[in-house]
Symmetry: C2
Subunit: 370 residues, 2 copies
């Protein structure tokens, strides 16, 4: 256990004590105490997990759901084809923001969930909730943006539904997209398949989407040129999977809750530990500045065009080259390593030489980010 | 053309003139003039069609979507398996009503859309939008109801998503479900496949769901024992399809917009005419009474456990027997006939011997019915 933790014996001891306390606490980690829904239940972080584990998971329990990856994987008539099925609802506010809009996000988000399952996205559904009085000109802009995003991603929106609620009973427009994809990978991968020694790759700087949304709300007098990183990642994942093959053990897009939450989910699901190198994690200057002013951690801020790829150590170099060669991976970096012990924990080796436990997002500093 | 229309020559002439005017008007039938969303855009009737044809259909156009059936049908690797994919969002108010709740509805509605495509429902996704402050005890009741409905229907909820919006930005809880099913029918069927001579079957009385919701809103001082008819119809459709085979040309569940809207959609898609016998259409006394008091037509009221089956004439008797033998088809009836001319029109032969054009729902007497 100690072999993987650098530092003086005292420091190691204190870290280990902290870990033990955290692990004990996590035995009951997803206990739902709340009587009413709060905004943090939608954060994607700890409160969301509490809600899922406290309400949804026990009621709906089945082997496909219990894996708790973003997509369910199934076959219809035996072994082939393996299909991925996923859904996401979009309630982002404002509807239009630097770098995108709710329509683009609703296509990219579900395309990316399929891509992370190793699937080629095929078909999307679109379900709209419209508030009475919503301008049809804005609806047209959003729908056209969805159509463009779908065309660019090479997928079709094949079925849909529209509901309208009275003025004051929604906030303009909400969109749900579900998606079906065809899984290309012949091996199993996902957040249960991390192994000690694996390397963690990230395809570019973190936090752009969340900070762009926050700036678009104009709640703050900070000027930045930060734009949402929303992008469809399936051509990047296809490149990676065909080049590295079974060496790819997990793909995950760190959206709500950010990199910190995604890595914690992986560490818990695979019962491994993850060590991150803070200096290796790319962050745009504008995001870093905004986070410093606002007291936020870029690692808990939502992304929409980022992925974490967990790859076998002997293929990490090659995988990084593949990412660098793709337009959406030019700033890719190797940011960490998987360790066997202590299971379920994520550590950050900080720039100044410290070591801290990196928890998933607690609370919700940025509600309605997607 | 006149051969199919009973009545005196004068009456026939006047009906024909009306038809011609209606058809001319329908040339531009789905022109979207509105600048803002109104509740009737969510009715499932004419305004919904205007919105779909004016905004969604041109933007998303592709062969699978353009068929405009409730499910999209696709294969992944050639001919087999054929899969159905569908989505619906549920915004019903109130969340609990006689005979059901939003959770049960969200499972049955999507199961039924798959069943109408001739598919065995396999997997559902569930996307929740929760309003800050929503009681978790009510969420549990709804989630348990979904889980029960899924178990009873023999399907699994395999993937999901939860978003939270601020207090006042939603109305308690909205649910989207999307579904994937495996198509059993080897032939083509759907609202494009009606043929002259086909018989229209209905599995039971109409209007229960809509009237139950209206009563649950307590807006009126009418006492009835009407309950929602919400039910999963896939075992009924499987029985029908295996007994009648290719004789089944179309299955459709008359939900929003009721029987009148569904039949108009079929008549337009297949470019045929449909003649209905009012006396043959079963309506519970409580529904009939409420409709009379409220000035509503039971044929435009939403149902949740009803289906229209269009079958070849020589198999209509047998199909009706199959429906009668099933618990959800005990009150089934043969309610009409498909005719070649005039295309796109639905007629009602009324109880008192008259003939009237039956249009799809215009406006929305009962918003947020599902």
């Amino acid at each position: 256990m100690q072999a993987h933790i650098p530092g003086s014996p005292d420091m190691v001891e204190s870290v280990l004590q902290k870990i033990e306390r955290t692990r004990q606490a996590r035995k009951h980690k997803f206990y739902l105490r709340d009587e009413r829904i709060t905004l943090s239940h939608g954060s994607g972080g700890k409160a969301t997990h509490n809600l899922i584990e406290g309400v949804f998971a026990p009621a709906f329990s089945n082997p496909m759901l219990d894996i708790m990856d973003d997509s369910a994987i199934f076959t219809v008539t035996g072994e082939q084809p393996r299909l991925a099925f996923t859904t996401d609802t979009y309630v982002v506010s404002p509807l239009f923001f630097p770098g995108g809009d709710i329509g683009k996000l609703a296509v990219h988000g579900t395309v990316n969930d399929l891509a992370m399952a190793g699937a080629r996205p095929l078909y999307l559904s679109a379900g709209f909730i419209l508030e009475e009085g919503f301008p049809i000109s804005e609806l047209r802009r959003i729908v056209d943006s969805m159509a463009n995003a779908a065309r660019e991603a090479g997928i079709a929106i094949v079925t849909g539904d529209t509901k309208v609620v009275q003025r004051g009973k929604a906030d303009g427009l909400f969109i749900n997209t579900a998606g079906v994809g065809h899984i290309q990978a012949t091996w199993n991968m996902g957040q249960n398949f991390l192994r000690a020694g694996d390397k963690i790759l990230l395809n570019g700087p973190v936090g752009d989407h969340g900070i762009a949304i926050m700036m678009a709300r104009e709640a703050l007098d900070i000027e930045t040129d930060v734009e949402s990183d929303t992008a469809p990642l399936h051509s990047l994942t296809e490149a990676l999977l065909s080049a590295v093959g079974e060496g790819v053990h997990c793909l995950k897009d760190p959206t709500r809750g950010g990199v910190a939450t995604s890595l914690n989910e992986m560490a818990m699901s695979s019962e491994v530990s993850i060590g991150l190198e803070e200096h290796a994690i790319p962050v745009h200057a504008g995001v870093r500045g905004a986070c410093e002013i606002l007291g936020l951690d870029p690692l808990t801020i939502a992304n929409e065009g980022k992925l974490l790829a967990v790859v076998a150590p002997e293929q990490a170099e090659h995988a990084l080259d593949v990412l660098h060669a793709h337009p959406l991976g030019r700033e890719a970096a190797l940011i960490g390593t998987v360790q066997a012990e202590p299971p379920g924990m994520v550590f950050l080796h900080t720039d100044i030489g410290g070591l801290r436990v990196l928890d998933m997002l607690v609370g919700d500093p940025l509600p309605r980010i997607c």
